[in-house]
Symmetry: C2
Subunit: 190 residues, 2 copies
DNA sequence: TTGATTCATGATCGATTGATCAACATAATG
DNA sequence: CATTATGTTGATCAATCGATCATGAATCAA
């Protein structure tokens, strides 16, 4: 073929992700994207079909980073505790308090076509699967009582993560977010 | 004076609220508002200074309805349980799954000026105050142990409500939302 | 009835939106 | 070197955005 790209697609996606994450999909204009990425209209549209398609790829870029925060060196209750702690730290450490792009996208759901909604649904489901898997391990190991309502607990833990991210974006005190995580962890120890 | 209004301001605010609630502030165009309220541009701007000012009043209209869901006939643990149940039911019963305008607004925070952000902050704080008040009552009544970390519990309960509303908008199964509420209630009974 | 005052209407504003496209640049291929 | 193929650029598009304003209608007070 001919003429190689002068930029890395990954780099552009990461920069676009930052814009969408901070401003939201609707409020983020393509001018914002041009400025953040250095791309020009024609170029961007040749590489990424549309604003919506670009968003989808930027969203998946975010999902990749998000997935990378999941602990891999521990299992069961320890894995759940570790990840809640990581999420709390990430949420409170961000000076811009952007929250989580997945949660933000869910709130903007109305503005997106079905394909994008499905993508957000799938990423949210992944979070549930993480908890479901490690709760099962925890019960099988005896870290949690055999009678534990694993589904209810998993749903509540998803709720805790979603809450931490929403509250982070609200700009509440770090202690509030820490307390949501701490209370969720305390429940596991009961 | 002269010529009375042909419409009730309350009615217009309620209709505008519905639009903002469903579509979000940025994605809701004034055309949407004109259609929903029947008002014409000049008229709307004469009555409500700007889109942002209209939103603020519509937001406070929502806050009024929201506040009205708080239980007044019970106190302590019973009040908390009752309200979590009411919120779960409202969230899952809504066929449009709009979630909560307060939570939605927090996510759109970046798009709003300081005044509007402060309004959203204040409404979120109200939720915390409800839990704080009834937790104190619960402890003083002996419904909860004296050593209860009331601040942590209040933060977690705010988190539960925020989570229910975010998850409602995500369109998750009603059981997930019910489980978030149920787990929060279970924590109070431990 | 007249004058004053408020309300209602819709055309219109400049700005910005997401998106397109023709022209040109650059690299690999023959 | 010429051809082919892809990448890059920025002018430009129609549509829509939030917002304004001149005009006329409607009501009350005098």
């Amino acid at each position: 073929m001919a003429r190689p790209r002068e930029y890395a697609v990954d780099d552009v996606l990461r920069r676009a992700m930052e814009v969408f994450w901070r401003k939201g999909f609707v409020a983020a204009s393509l001018s914002d994207i041009y400025e953040a990425t250095g791309l020009k209209p024609g170029n961007l549209y040749a590489t990424f079909r549309s604003k919506e398609a670009l968003f989808r790829q930027a969203f998946e870029t975010y999902a990749g980073f998000f997935r990378a925060t999941l602990p891999t060196d521990v299992e069961g209750v320890a894995a759940i505790e570790a990840w809640l702690g990581v999420q709390a730290r990430l949420a409170t450490d961000d000076p811009e308090r952007r929250g989580c792009l997945i949660v933000n996208t869910i709130t903007e759901r109305e503005a997106h076509p079905p394909e994008t909604r499905a993508l957000a649904d799938a990423r949210l489901a992944e979070i549930g699967e993480f908890f479901t898997r490690h709760l099962a391990i925890a019960v099988s190991r005896g870290e949690l009582p055999a009678g534990t309502d694993q589904v209810r607990l998993a749903d509540a833990l998803v709720g805790a993560v979603v809450a931490m991210m929403s509250l982070a974006r609200a700009g509440v005190a770090a202690s509030v977010i820490d307390n949501v995580a701490a209370q969720a962890i305390a429940t596991l120890r009961a």
